[in-house]
Symmetry: C2
């Protein structure tokens, strides 16, 4: 066994994310992260001198970039409802149809650094704002739009929990199918 080939940063983030998502912050051990990435623990520390907190922060940064792609149709689609539907479709891919937990949920449990929780909260607020903007374009008042966007995030996060606990992806699929009617009725 020779040394591992140098691995692209984005690939590393994705593999770290897999572990953090299913294990939570505290449950993600350096050994598990190391194995998922395919690098020894010491090599991970070379990439992330500040250790696990830095790895988690990089994962959330990467998630933020991916979410910009997922949310983009909300702002750019000519019809709001079809933009929401496209967002839902991209979200289904991101969460592999509800089989993966949400990092905002699992990475913010006790044990997580405060900075990480703050980062997750910012991400969630941006997500809500993007959906609220779409609802306004669909004719809702600011107040209505804000409420619908929060309701949408509640259902998405809840569906991910319930789908995982019941091992039934149809719950997540149903919620995604209802999103256009919720945000742009």
């Amino acid at each position: 066994m020779g040394r591992a080939a140098s691995v692209d940063d984005e690939v590393i983030y994705a593999r770290l994310a897999e572990v953090f998502r299913v294990a939570g912050y505290a449950g993600a051990s350096l050994s598990a992260l190391s194995e998922a990435v395919g690098l020894r623990r010491a090599s991970l520390y070379h990439r992330f001198p500040s250790g696990k907190p830095a790895m988690a922060a990089a994962v959330l940064d990467s998630v933020e970039v991916q979410f910009a792609q997922i949310l983009q149709p909300l702002a750019s689609a000519p019809e709001v409802a079809s933009g929401v539907a496209e967002m839902a479709s991209r979200m289904a891919r991101f969460y592999t149809d509800g089989r993966l937990a949400c990092v905002l949920d699992t990475m913010t449990l006790a044990g997580a650094p405060e900075e990480l929780k703050a980062q997750a909260a910012r991400l969630a607020r941006g997500w809500i704002q993007a959906m609220a903007d779409a609802a306004v374009r669909a004719g809702a008042t600011e107040t209505e739009a804000s409420g619908r966007a929060r309701a949408a995030l509640v259902r998405i996060e809840g569906a991910l929990v319930v789908s995982r606990v019941l091992d039934d992806p149809s719950v997540f699929e149903q919620v995604l199918a209802d999103l256009p009617g919720l945000l742009a009725p």
Copy 2:
């Protein structure tokens, strides 16, 4: 410092639950559990010879008993809507207004024994069934009732996640307030 007084089982379960709820299964260390209970680690092993898995299982058993109390108004209240409202009120107390995560969520992440996940899934199904039965009493067909009950659990679990991530209990309160209209429209 003399030895700690013998502690009642139900008190132990409640204190263990506090730790598992905020830390998740993997994040709940024996030291944290020991400190919360007020017994030394070795004493915890005397109560739970099979260690942490046994402690977690006992916590879920205890949660199941408490949930029977929370759900009881669903079946016994003369008006379905008021029974749902009473359930919501008891749930708010159980989750301290949305500041506590749900054990079904946090105790079923990676690291948790399969038996524990199965126990959580049974608990969730019982919860859905109790709400679906109430919806039927409110006039829904079996199919409608089942869908409404799943939707209710999705919103409750999602609200607990979003309230925690945003540090905003009003999200949970709003969802609880909407429950009667959702289950018994």
